[in-house]
Subunit: 444 residues, 2 copies
Amino acid sequence: MSKNKIYKPRPISGFPEWLPEIRRVEQQWLDHFRKIFESYGFCSIETAAVEEIEVLLAKGETDKEIYTLTRLQADEKDKSDARLALHFDQTVPFARYTALNFNNIVFPFKRYQMQKVWRGERPQLGREREFYQCDIDVIAVDNLPLHFDAEMPAVIYEALDGLDIGRVQIKINNRKIICGLLEFLNIDEVILTTRIIDKLDKIGEDEVRKQLASEINLEDKQIDLILQLSIIKTRNPVELENEVKKLNVDNEKFDEGLKELVFVLKQLQHLPEHAVIVDLSVVRGLDYYTGTVYETNLLDIPEFTSSVCSGGRYDDLAGGYINKHLPGVGISIGLTRLFGVLLENGYIKNKKMSPAEILMVLPSEDRRMQAYQTAHALRKNGFNVEMYHAPQKIKKQIAYAEKKGIKYVWFPPFDDEGEHEVKTLDTGEQKKTTPDSWIINEKS
Amino acid sequence: MSKNKIYKPRPISGFPEWLPEIRRVEQQWLDHFRKIFESYGFCSIETAAVEEIEVLLAKGETDKEIYTLTRLQADEKDKSDARLALHFDQTVPFARYTALNFNNIVFPFKRYQMQKVWRGERPQLGREREFYQCDIDVIAVDNLPLHFDAEMPAVIYEALDGLDIGRVQIKINNRKIICGLLEFLNIDEVILTTRIIDKLDKIGEDEVRKQLASEINLEDKQIDLILQLSIIKTRNPVELENEVKKLNVDNEKFDEGLKELVFVLKQLQHLPEHAVIVDLSVVRGLDYYTGTVYETNLLDIPEFTSSVCSGGRYDDLAGGYINKHLPGVGISIGLTRLFGVLLENGYIKNKKMSPAEILMVLPSEDRRMQAYQTAHALRKNGFNVEMYHAPQKIKKQIAYAEKKGIKYVWFPPFDDEGEHEVKTLDTGEQKKTTPDSWIINEKS
């Protein structure tokens, strides 16, 4: 026993950590996202965990969430790192990275980025201080075809649909429609108004009506038209066009938004019926988005009520950092947030701690070399094999495999005349084999 | 053009970032490490980026490298995150994680961890402020078989040998040998003495002799024996035993160390001749290690002179955090450090920016649906396919594929009577195909 003075560590609130068997699932999710993102040609980048504070604050607003860095015993003369802070999302770093590397990037630039970000918020379930975000964006110089707006939901649907979390539904809208309507109605308070509309699903029609009247002083006729538009939900491009045109809004931006939205919806007809829906109340709080916007809901997970994954089209990614016009479209999965809620509610059940498929038993000291060689041969053929290094009781070795979730226990010959045997733990079946025949069988 | 005020970002010294084509190579390295680690049954964990400062300082010494966190606009009443700092390695977090989750872990606990760590050092090539470490450790309760000491170099050799960086050589020693010798010679200054011996390869015999005399006041006879021991280098266990026994050192710890080292060396005879060497001058500065120690050199990369990967056996991992005796053995690859030096010296040459293997050409607007369907079918069969969304000149589309390093350009039929064709960019060869026959051919 150690006789040191003991400092008993505590979990740090807001900084989630998983046991190995849960981390395995998280890693499988990350791998799956990566596979889908790469299958559409998105390339990986990672940016530094830190940014200059000036870069992070270029857009304002978020300053209270930022963690700044200080060296515990900084050299007084060295001020080089005085102004660093941890990034709180991946959009600002992506914009800064693109500006910095502009001449070495081929556009349209399709990138994915799966890193941890940090926010000094008050921690609560689904709102951590450290969490993974998984983002994809496409940006181009001056012009980006609208077809990319349709590619985003296709990619995201494939990414989320592969997770075994029930039905995924992507809600789509185009901010030009509501902005055009407000223009048509001579309403200037675009940000405030859209923020209220965005709450339609949560607070209901009556409350939206009340807030639009009390907070923005809109007239009943204005509110009527806004609500008639906002309640439209459809999967059908023809129906969408008909319903919206009934409102008789005469505005150029409005028409452009509708045309774009119909176009995007048409491109998504190959996805399952439930996968996509146009919902004209989805307008996203951020004025940052200028066209298509997305939100994503899980239809079969009642505990997860907010959007898993959101994003949209923006006019200019990096205007604050470079004198180029870089329009883009992107979407972001809040991985840790989703994962944490699913875990908490019992949807994530993996109990396999070890990546090994086979535990190589060591029957006795004199069989060690044969056990090693067998393990080695299996590894060379792509199997994950953990070696039990101590020649303890066979029962103990099998129990170890069971506790670690290892499927097969391999017994090398117990003597020179013996044969290899493999036991499948969940069925209890045990049969004779050889490394060669095992490799051939399992690979076919 | 944007009319915003522009804040031109600069690269942040010590926080390396790669272009997509270089990030691809880094990701391939990480994937390769992971594959090898998992093939030996190591499981993945990730710990929070932060630790309580008290946890980080439990071992003292490193305080000046630590970055502490402050919320930019902290709530005055909320002191919950007042004492956090970024981790500077993965050993302290691993020890803390093990102590915290002790009852939910199956021992021996084999884990790998590949995360970024942060040190507020003065940046220079090969010494960054943010870098990836790739660590493997095995820990057990009370006893860990010595065979794990031999498994470590086998794993690390496979991991590094797969990187196409020339010959890898792992130097092995056992600290008990030198500590036993110092005991035998009645020398108390173990840390100081071993630190001088450790520099033998760099500063040479004469300088070591001088420093041992001037800094620790050792007598010539003592120094002679230390040097006779330290210059021993061999691949052969029998030779090792003979050479060391010639010194006639009568000390129990010394004998134990030799026995362990011979044992480990014998287990590694299956590795190539150059892969392993016992070098009795390798003692590692840290008194933290208590038995086997490792260092790793690249024999064919003269620009990388220090150890790529080091580690050893320790008596007690988490004694500062839990009242349990947890001996272990571990090794750590300084990935970013190695990667940065190789990149700087032209050893890393990948120029493939995109993960896509195929660019799907869009010949004209009316072929769009067919192009999409073809891309979709290929993706479903495991190919990475980027779609060119704008029906621009074919030449422009091919040039795009070339710039992104995409190998094949796929032309869907230009009209209803046409056929699919695929051009291989590096050979210029172009031939007719169908999605079905392509999938069958490429997969076989």
